[in-house]
């Protein structure tokens, strides 16, 4: 639990900073835009429809889309003005959240101004106000309660959606939720949810306080609430800035599953204990986001798997050559085409496996992929989001002729529950996943060797390799240090025993000294 709270100030501050930033930008864009629209009634439907369309894009997709969008923009700016935009982190999250915040504020600004009694507008003109005076002295004050209601709606949406910014590399209270779901740490999930909800309510009430104070002329109340918001924003900036401003921090990326959390903590500790620069895990990034981030230099180090790189990054297909050949191909191609160093192969494979409940597999007499294929028309498969779209799956289908009755994509954490409870018959599992043993599942054998080898390899980005060759050398010492049994044990310690990834990584490091 203490482990959980240790990062609370950082996550809360980052979350608040991200949300307030998006909200302030959204409001300062949406209110003038709303005013402009009321002056040009013909443009109104088109603009409102456009912002409404943004709202219908699923939040996670919009956030993820901002990564390549900002990367493309960054390439342009670096060519034109000589500076780069960070493609992952708070940049894409801020842009996406701002887009989300615009609609309610815009709609309410338009509705608020259009709702002002026409008699008041006529009187404003009649007493000799200019259009600008009419706007500032009559229309905006009268529309204020409606506009503020829009800001409050936006605040709740933005704080809620900000929990989804974790996979694009912006730390937030969502880190508790994402990592908690993967490691079955429901205290962490609950903490993330409750804190985000509390923050949303707090922000909502804070804005309401400011508005009430302003409207009723109770300057004390309004100023107090405004002061509270400003102090909160400053505190968030100081905490977030203070943590971000360390001289040169090696950022260690991780994907969204237990093994990656453990390894990112382990690599960070390994670098620091070897006298290297401070290293910080940047967790729960989307797997495609992560490779792009490494190439762009936003992430310095992370662990990937040769089979994945071989099929998706190198674009190879057909029957895979042997384990060593794949590793060699990956090592050479990454260096040549992407400037990425494979510092070490850790010594274990985490391959895509197909797993069933042990009892069910016995009952059906299925132990190999070939046997599974013949029974597949009666069975249902559950897979993580990526698996069914990956080249490996296509290779499996063409080699074995799988024809499942149904195939469902689901979150990995739910996938294991689903197979354990018999809601699906087969799942795409990771071979080192602690949950295979924990839930009494059995792995089926790839009897024709279609699935490529998945050696865990430590990848290092070009900037770190250039600036700190000592760190690369230190990481190279991990070559072959973790075997499959060790990795499974560490994963189980998190998934089954409910220990924290950091704690498990620390134990391994202590033993390795």
């Amino acid at each position: 639990m203490t482990e959980l709270w240790a990062r609370f100030p950082e996550y809360l501050a980052a979350h608040l900073e991200l949300s307030l930033g998006a909200l302030v930008i959204a409001a300062s864009a949406a209110v003038p835009l709303g005013v402009w629209i009321t002056r040009r009634p013909r443009a109104a439907p088109a603009l409102l429809a456009l912002t409404g369309a943004v709202q219908t894009i699923p939040s996670l997709a919009l956030l993820a889309f901002m990564v390549p969008a900002l990367a493309a923009l960054g390439a342009l700016t670096s060519r034109a003005f000589g500076f780069e935009l960070r493609a992952i982190g708070s940049g894409p999250a801020l842009v996406a959240l701002t887009l989300y915040g615009v609609l309610p504020i815009l709609q309410n600004t338009v509705a608020g101004i259009q709702g002002v009694d026409p008699a008041c507008c006529e009187a404003a003109r009649g007493v000799g106000m200019t259009p600008r005076q009419q706007l500032w002295r009559v229309e905006l004050p009268l529309a204020l309660p409606v506009i503020v209601a829009g800001v409050r709606t936006a605040a709740v949406w933005v704080v809620g959606t900000a929990t989804l910014s974790t996979p694009v590399g912006a730390p937030s209270l969502g880190n508790y939720i994402f990592s908690g779901l993967q490691t079955r740490n429901y205290a962490s999930v609950t903490l993330g949810c409750v804190a985000a909800a509390g923050l949303a309510l707090g922000l909502d009430q804070g804005i309401r306080g400011v508005e009430r104070g302003v409207r009723r002329g109770r300057r004390g109340l309004g100023a107090g609430a405004l002061l509270a918001l400003v102090v909160a924003a400053l505190a968030a900036a100081v905490v977030a800035g203070g943590l971000g401003a360390a001289p040169r921090v090696v950022s260690i990326g991780s994907k969204t599953f237990t093994e990656q959390y453990v390894l990112s903590e382990l690599l960070a500790g390994w670098i620091q204990r070897g006298g290297g620069p401070p290293a910080r895990p940047l967790q729960s990034l989307g797997s495609t986001v992560l490779f792009d981030a490494l190439r762009a230099g936003d992430v310095d180090v992370y662990v990937d798997y040769t089979g994945t790189l071989w099929a998706t990054v190198l674009g190879r297909s057909g029957p895979p050559p042997g384990r060593a050949a794949v590793l060699d191909d990956v090592r050479r191609t990454l260096a040549a085409e992407h400037g990425i160093t494979v510092a070490a192969a850790l010594g274990f494979e985490n391959s895509y496996a197909l797993a069933m409940r042990a009892a069910r597999a016995r009952e059906l007499g299925v132990a190999t992929f070939s046997a599974l294929a013949s029974r597949s028309p009666e069975l249902e498969i559950g897979a993580d989001y990526e698996f069914l779209a990956r080249p490996e799956w296509r290779a499996l289908v063409s080699a074995y002729g799988f024809a499942f009755r149904a195939a469902r994509s689901m979150d990995p954490s739910l996938m294991y529950q689903a197979v354990a409870q018999g809601q699906v018959d087969v799942i795409s599992a990771f071979s080192t996943d602690g949950r295979i043993a924990a839930l009494g599942l059995t792995r089926l054998r790839d009897d024709r060797g279609v699935v490529p080898p998945y050696d865990a390899v430590v990848l290092v980005g070009s900037r770190l390799a250039r600036e700190r060759p000592d760190v690369v050398a230190r990481l190279a010492k991990l070559e072959g240090r973790i075997d499959e049994a060790t990795m499974q044990r560490m994963n189980r310690a998190v998934d089954e025993a409910g220990r924290s990834p950091a704690e498990v990584a620390r134990e391994w490091l202590d033993a390795a000294q």
Binding site: D117, C120, A123, L142
Partner: protein
């Protein structure tokens, strides 16, 4: 003095006001009467340029209204209308003082002026200054509206059916008070109404409009005695017909 010289307003093919010429003499109240859609409100709003004329010329005190920008012009003209349009987020005092503030008067002068005007419309400043418009009756709101129109000491006053939306008893009292105030200030006033009795009671002269044209302009006595045509005659008869109906009812009762 307000002078209209061949003033027209066209909306596409529709002619709302058709080459209208008339003059409101210094200190006079001219009542514009006519049925709905006859162009009387359009005529009034062209004077302070809430509506821009399509053709013709309007002068106030000899100066063409187009010499000033619209907002500046309107600060010199008092304007009251049926819906009053008090600003609900401002106090009574801030509503009354709005034009002086726009003209850049200092706060003390505005405050003195506001109190003067509240006295004039018989709303004791100490009690009403800080009230919200929503806390006033319809008749009181109308009086605040009049105070607001008069606050900056305008050259002329434009009133568009100001007493049209209040109950008959309140209307009667408002007309009486307004008549007294106007006599005291002697302010040149253009007054739109569709109530002939009101026009007869308040107007120094009456102009009858129909389909954007002037049918007749004269004193109440002239219009009653010598209506120019059947339309004017029918219109001017309405108060008498109403009172005859009342008489008839009373006689039937007595018999």
């Amino acid at each position: 003095m307000i002078e209209l010289e061949a003033v027209s307003k066209r909306y596409g093919d529709v002619v709302a006001v058709d080459a209208l010429s008339l003059a409101v003499a210094e200190g006079e109240l001219l009542a514009l009467v006519g049925s709905s859609g006859c162009g009387k409100t359009t005529t009034l709003k062209m004077v302070n340029r809430l509506i821009e004329p399509s053709a013709g010329r309007i002068r106030i005190g000899g100066r063409d209204t187009r010499e000033l920008a619209g907002p500046e012009l309107r600060r010199r003209i008092g304007y009251c209308f049926q819906q009053v349009g008090l600003f609900p987020h401002l106090s009574v005092a801030d509503n009354v003082g709005v034009t002086p503030q726009l003209l850049g008067w200092d706060a003390a002068r505005v405050a003195r002026r506001v109190d003067e005007l509240l006295e004039l419309v018989e709303l004791p400043p100490a009690r009403y200054r800080e009230r919200a418009p929503a806390a006033l009756s319809g008749g009181q709101q109308q009086r605040v509206g009049l105070a607001r129109a008069l606050a900056a000491g305008p050259e002329v006053l434009l009133m568009d059916e100001p007493f049209g939306a209040v109950d008959p008893l309140t209307r009667d009292r408002l007309q009486e008070r307004f008549h007294a105030i106007r006599k005291r200030l002697g302010i040149t006033t253009l007054f739109v109404t569709h109530d002939v009795a009101e026009a007869l009671r308040l107007g120094d002269r009456i102009a009858v409009l129909d389909a954007g044209r002037l049918l007749q302009l004269g004193t109440p006595r002239e219009l009653l005695r010598a209506p120019a045509d059947a339309t004017v005659a029918r219109l001017m008869e309405t108060p008498r017909r109403q009172s005859q109906q009342v008489e008839a009812l009373l006689r039937a009762d007595g018999a």
